[in-house]
Amino acid sequence: MKLFEYMGKELFAGYGLAVPRGSMATGPDEAASVAAGIGGEVVVKSQILSGKRGKGGGIKFASDPAQARQAAAAILGSTVQGLKVEMVLVEEKLSIDRELYLAITVDGSARKPVLIASASGGMDIEEVPEEDIVKYYIDPFIGLAPYAAREITRRLGLSGNQAKEMHGLLPTLYKIFLEKDAELVEINPLVISGDRLVAADAKVTIDDEALFRQQSLPRVEERTVAEKKAHALGLSYVELEGNIAVMANGAGITMGTLDTLQHYGGRPANFLDAGGGTGMEGTAKALEILLETNPRVILINIFGGITRCDDVANALVKVKNEIGIPVPVVIRLVGTNEEIGVGILKENGFEAYRSMSEAAAKAVEIANKN
């Protein structure tokens, strides 16, 4: 779950980290009044879940409340990076001496949290050469100890009061990462303004699997309507752009099915991993979600040993008879009692196969007709 910038900054402030003075605004007048409260030059920033706001006109500077009003009016309601802007953050414009990059994230390969820091802040971290990046792997049993904070600070070339600030900031950042079950806590840029280290931006992503124990965090919904519905049913769903709706049992096999469709010239409309559940209700609900994407054809790929194919077939037939499926369905069914299952399906007007390549090719043929 990604947090908006303003939420990340609220979190930081709660832990005592310095953030720019500012407030949210949902209208141009509000933006003007926030700017007046701050005094001086401000920056008006769209609050959307995308990294590249500046490029889409999502960040504007304003030297007085009137300009802030104009900037907000231009940004609010507009679309930046494909996302509709509904809120802006109006903040003091910082006087910048230096910009650093700081982040803590999960390194899957090391199986540890990793702190990534660079003296080249304010730019894409992917473009910073390796030798300018400091990486420190955090042992979960030790945490980010004072000696480590001092060494990282030294390597960033900080000294004096700035260094002292950093010695405190780094363990606090890790504390946030740990206590909020974050997958990513990123400050880019961390602005050095005199002796202050100020988080000019805040990108915080919370581990979805830990939300059950993070009740006090706000909820940010990034999913589409269909993805939300599927999630509520315990299904894994991703919206894509094609016209062949897909359902399979297992994430890997669903990806494999999409790949196979593409290979044959088809365009998948979605990814839907129905998991092991292929009972009547589950199947009906999953099909409902698929039909809402208005596909030309539905491809179902069930490969199982525990899954009983005659059960799956009967569930599909029941759905067809009771609710109706207005779109051709191609189904590939392998598992216990597969011959019986395929037989039941064929008798009821489904295109049923035991081979994945044949089923995929058929689905593409149907989708690409006229």
Partner: protein
């Protein structure tokens, strides 16, 4: 030989009395796995399919030698259960559970490393030593003993590929599921190293997917291997930034792409299958 588990492995099932636990204990016993006990707090003295149930791992190990445990524990309690197994001295901990918070996974791996335990998973189907021992949930009928080692991040897709191999008369030595999460115990490299040393394994099938850099790491090791590797990578059609079911299956900031993995594996000398059903044909050619 066999890697990690064999016909002598004594298995403890943690979470033995839930639906999943009961069902899979039955399946594992049918496969021939030596399940010595199960755990379920408060249910000591009960039995599941003739297997004695204990309150916890410590209690079970008072009565039995346990080489491996299999966890059917809900995500919120999985870290605690894994810690208990590791502290008790269980050498192989197979975590079937999905949706475990990543911070918990990090801690489990750190503790396992400290104690010298091997974790398989989480979010895995488990591991099968063909004809000898199955720890986990893959359907029994797809496996036959043979010369191909299989190591995979996904479940059903692997059953598909293994089922295909079996249908073509090509059996498997060991089939290991790494799991779909971002932080897992055994990695591709860990398993490849073991396959390379295993006299029964003559060739390896690697089933990968987008996200992370396990396949790229594996490629570095594959360069040194004497045994041939056939790889299939799922997710060619996946858009960047979207999690495709598995927590670890996501292309982020240009990393973990299909293209990157294919290139690394090809350069390392692995044969790359474009579609899953091509795997048996390629293996047949390689084994001669």
């Amino acid at each position: 030989m066999a890697i990690i588990i064999d016909e002598n492995t004594r298995v403890l099932v943690q979470g033995a009395t839930g639906n999943q636990g009961r069902f899979h204990i039955r399946q594992m016993l049918a496969y021939g796995t030596k399940i010595v006990g199960g755990t379920s707090p408060g249910k000591a003295g009960q039995e599941v399919e003739g297997v004695p149930v204990y309150d916890n791992v410590f209690a079970a190990m008072e009565d039995h030698q346990v080489d491996a445990s299999c966890l059917f524990i809900p995500a919120a309690g999985a870290r605690d259960a894994a810690f208990e197994a590791i502290e008790s001295g269980v050498r192989v901990v197979v975590i079937i559970t999905e949706h475990i918070p990543v911070q918990d996974e990090i801690q489990i791996m750190a503790f396992a490393r400290q104690k010298g335990a091997t974790v398989i998973g989480p979010n895995t189907f488990g591991i099968v030593s063909s004809g000898r021992c199955k720890i986990g949930i893959p359907p029994n009928q797809f496996f036959i003993p043979g010369p191909v080692g299989v190591v995979a991040r996904s479940g059903t897709l692997t059953y598909e590929i293994v089922g295909n191999l079996t249908a073509n008369g090509i059996g498997q030595s060991t089939v290991a599921g790494l799991g779909g999460d971002r932080v897992v115990g055994l990695s591709f490299v860990d398993v490849l190293q073991r396959f390379e040393k295993d006299p029964e394994t003559k060739a390896v099938v690697l089933v990968g997917e987008i996200g992370g850099n396990q396949e790229e790491e594996a490629a570095r090791y594959i360069k040194k291997m004497t045994k041939p590797v056939v790889a299939y990578i799922a997710g060619k059609s996946a858009p960047p930034g979207k999690r495709m079911g598995h927590a670890g299956a996501i292309i982020e900031r240009g990393k973990g792409t299909y293209q990157g993995k294919i290139e690394a594996l090809s350069e390392a000398g692995a044969s790359v299958a474009t579609l899953p059903f091509e795997v048996p044909g390629i293996i047949k050619n390689l084994l001669g």
